[in-house]
């Protein structure tokens, strides 16, 4: 076991866990931030995507001991009461079906928009390729990402 200080969504938490415990399970079971989902445990589905220093990261394979810097989860994506443009676009375009993968989808899309304010279809497909949706909401995801990008550029 070991004590680790984690900066999650701007708040510092101290946890006492096995250094090998993936960030996903620290978030879910220890910090009770269950918005980040478990899907496969081997970085193949993207449901567990969070930001580590702004980069989309699969939290299910990232040992807590290796976490250095700021972690942002879906719960911390909005600025207070203001939704992130992607969250608003997800609602506007009725993206979710079962909804389970969508936190990971939004986090991957947010990392994309942070470095590419006006992504092409191809940019979106490439950036989102690691995020599975069993319901097949991909076309609406793409539409919502474009919509959020446009909304951000107007703002």
């Amino acid at each position: 076991m070991g004590k680790f200080k984690l900066n999650v969504n701007g708040e510092v938490h101290e946890v006492d866990v096995d250094p090998r415990m993936p960030l996903l399970w620290v978030l879910r079971d220890k910090l009770k931030l269950t918005g980040t989902k478990y899907g496969c445990g081997i970085a193949q589905c993207g449901a567990c995507t969070v930001h580590l220093n702004g980069t989309a990261t699969r939290s299910c394979v990232l040992p807590v001991a290796a976490v250095s810097g700021e972690v942002t989860t879906i719960e911390g994506l909005a600025s207070g009461a203001d939704l992130h443009p992607l969250q608003a676009a997800w609602i506007e375009h009725d993206v979710p079906q079962c909804g389970y993968c969508q936190a990971g989808q939004i986090m991957s899309a947010a990392a994309l928009l942070a470095t590419n304010a006006a992504p092409s279809d191809e940019d979106i497909d490439t950036a989102m390729a690691g995020n599975f949706c069993r319901c097949g909401t991909y076309t609406r995801i793409r539409k919502a990402v474009h919509s959020a990008a446009a909304a951000s550029s107007e703002a």
Binding site: W25, T34, G39, G41, E75, D94, Q97
Partner: protein
């Protein structure tokens, strides 16, 4: 027992003076004396209006991504004349006495409930209009409900919120007197609204089964015997229990009784398989311990099924001929033997398919031993397509009375038929029962695939002949599928109403069903999605052999637009099938040639 048919809607006042309509009906009120109430047992929702005008509608049908939590309330809101913006949808608890059948499967949630939803909305509308007539001292015929208001022809109006407390005192309309909106006047149905849970989903606050957190809860996983029907003999218990974060590790014996169910396609499927439970302080400690698990299994009597073995067995059956004749036609064999005809033969196989819901199977159970002679109780949080089944299996397995079991249905991260079967819930209940604390049992993705109740695999031997004119001369189909010793496997075998056999004069169809142990279950129309693959692929082969266009050949086989069985909505409608064929294949053509247009407009509404 005689009961006024108006009892189908119960009315009671809210604390705040609002209207609450509760759709409920004792089973006893059904029957020939109450013809309008047949099927009323399926009414399953209630709505309320508070004085501020907020309309709350309960969603009682399990939500797994099909959008039912949004769709059914839209139907109610439409018929009552509400504004969709005024509606809040909340989850109903599992309570079939109150909400009727609470289940989702077979794409039946809207067809099964649209009538009751419309009656619910129309009843509320009539009571609101009745209240407005009293309050405004006008004739009710001169009133109409629109935009969450009741509006008089003079233009005077009252909001639903203003009317709610008086509406509750109005007589509940006789369902036979209810009238319904003209679809041309719809303002909600037919529009695209965003799902009612989309905000909580997009902000990471939605609660799926896997997100449940309880005071004092432990985390668990269950490793069941890798071969169905086997059990655990011993395991490295001392090593596992000594691992950090692990509180319990123990063997559970298989229990077939747990899975007994009244629903035919679920029967036996929630049995507890033999295996090893690991319980700990967090999920990862449990999964890490699982990776170190070393179990000695007893495979006596366990499944010996292999895919290679099943292929070989199916080929042997094909070679031997025979099979149960489902449809016979003496002309088939001569047509196949006629040297003027071109024959085509194919051995098709379709594999077992997993569901792979994005949310792995999980369940949280809190089993409490009764104190001082009180009954034991159980509380369960679960994503389930048929949550009431949990009560049944808890009764079978541990003898719990239904009234001592509380089930909290939660949004599902996918269902697809997998969450119609509750083996994962049985495991969670068994583990909580064993350790005496609330337990969240989560499967790994590997568990989820190993323990799936797959879409059944199978085989079809196809033979066909086309005559020199390119017409189909013979269709000979031999289905080789599976059954359990005493019962059918959902999706395996032909029902006898499939296209093309019902539409062809010169067809012979046989089937042979073999015993097996592989776990198979519901999976998005499991019979149709395999048969259609085989049959349509073979039609393509035949069209190719005939040197004809696939679409044209297919449409010829379908024949004139007609119901195969008049008046039976489940009977094949070749008119609809023809439209779909044009839509699907025609779209492909359009992409290829750039000049294809549907020959007739297709109305999807």
């Amino acid at each position: 027992m005689s009961m006024n048919r108006r009892d189908w809607l119960k009315v009671s006042a809210l604390g705040s003076g609002g209207l609450l309509l509760q759709m409920t009906l004792p089973v006893a009120a059904e029957g020939p004396d109450h013809p309008a109430l047949v099927r009323s047992k399926e009414l399953n929702v209630y709505l309320q209006i508070d004085a501020s005008g907020e309309i709350t509608i309960y969603s009682a049908t399990p939500e797994m991504g099909q959008g039912i939590k949004t769709t059914l309330p839209m139907i109610i809101a439409e018929e009552m004349g509400a504004r969709w913006e005024d509606v809040t949808v909340i989850d109903a608890p599992e309570d079939m006495q109150r909400f009727g059948m609470q289940g989702a499967g077979g794409s039946m949630s809207v067809p099964r409930q649209i009538g009751s939803m419309r009656r619910m909305g129309a009843s509320a509308r009539e009571m609101l209009i009745g209240a407005a007539a009293l309050l405004m001292e006008v004739e009710r015929e001169d009133l109409q409900a629109r935009d969450s208001r009741v509006i008089h022809k003079s233009g005077a109006e009252r909001s639903f919120g203003q009317l709610a407390s008086l509406a509750v005192q109005q007589p509940v309309p006789d369902p036979e007197t209810l009238t319904f909106k003209d679809p041309d006047d719809y303002t909600i149905i037919g529009t695209s609204v965003t799902g009612v849970d989309n905000l909580v989903i997009a902000s990471g606050r939605s609660q799926f089964g896997i997100d449940v957190e309880l005071e004092g809860m432990h985390y668990a996983n269950y490793t069941s015997c890798p071969r169905v029907g086997g059990k655990a003999v011993k395991f490295n218990a001392d090593e596992i229990r000594a691992l950090p974060g692990i509180t319990h590790a123990f063997i559970l014996e298989p229990n077939a009784d747990a899975g007994k169910a009244q629903m035919f396609f679920i029967d036996g499927m929630a049995k507890l398989r033999g295996g090893v439970a690991i319980v700990g302080e967090d999920t990862w400690s449990v999964l890490d311990a699982k990776s170190k698990l070393d179990v000695q299994w007893d495979f006596e009597g366990a499944s010996t099924d292999t895919w290679e073995g099943q292929i070989a067995q199916a080929r042997d059956i094909v070679a031997a001929g025979g099979g149960e004749v489902r449809l016979d036609n003496a002309a088939v064999e001569p047509a196949l033997a006629n040297p003027d005809n071109t024959t085509v033969e194919g051995f098709y196989q379709f594999p077992y398919v997993s569901h792979i819901c994005m949310e792995p199977m999980n369940c949280t159970a809190d089993y409490r031993a009764g104190k001082n002679g009180a009954d034991d109780t159980l509380e369960v949080w679960v994503g389930s397509q048929f949550p009431a089944q949990i009560k049944e299996l808890a009764g079978n397995f541990l003898g719990l009375k239904p009234e001592n079991v509380t089930v909290h249905p939660l949004r599902m991260g996918g269902g697809f038929g997998r969450r119609a079967i509750h083996d994962y819930a049985t495991e969670a209940i068994a583990i909580s029962h064993h350790v005496g604390v609330p337990v969240k049992m989560t499967w790994t993705r590997t568990d989820d695939i190993h323990n799936d109740w797959h879409r059944v695999g199978g085989f079809e031997q196809m033979r066909g002949a086309v005559d020199p004119a390119g017409k189909l001369a013979a269709w000979d189909q031999h289905y080789i599928g599976y059954k359990y010793a005493n019962r059918t496997v959902i999706g395996s075998g032909l029902r006898g109403n499939e296209f093309p056999m019902v539409a062809l004069a010169n067809a012979r169809v046989r089937q042979s069903m073999m015993d097996f142990d592989t776990q198979c279950g519901a999976w998005r129309a499991p019979g149709s999605n395999t048969n259609a693959f085989v049959e349509q692929s073979f039609i393509h082969e035949l069209a190719h052999a005939a040197g004809r266009d696939h679409l044209e050949f297919l449409l010829e086989l379908m024949g004139a637009r007609r119901w195969i069985k008049e008046g039976d909505v489940n009977a094949l409608n070749t008119g609809r099938a023809i439209d779909v064929s044009w839509l699907r294949l025609g779209t492909v053509r359009a992409r290829q040639s750039g000049n294809w247009r549907p020959r007739s407009p297709i109305r999807l509404r």
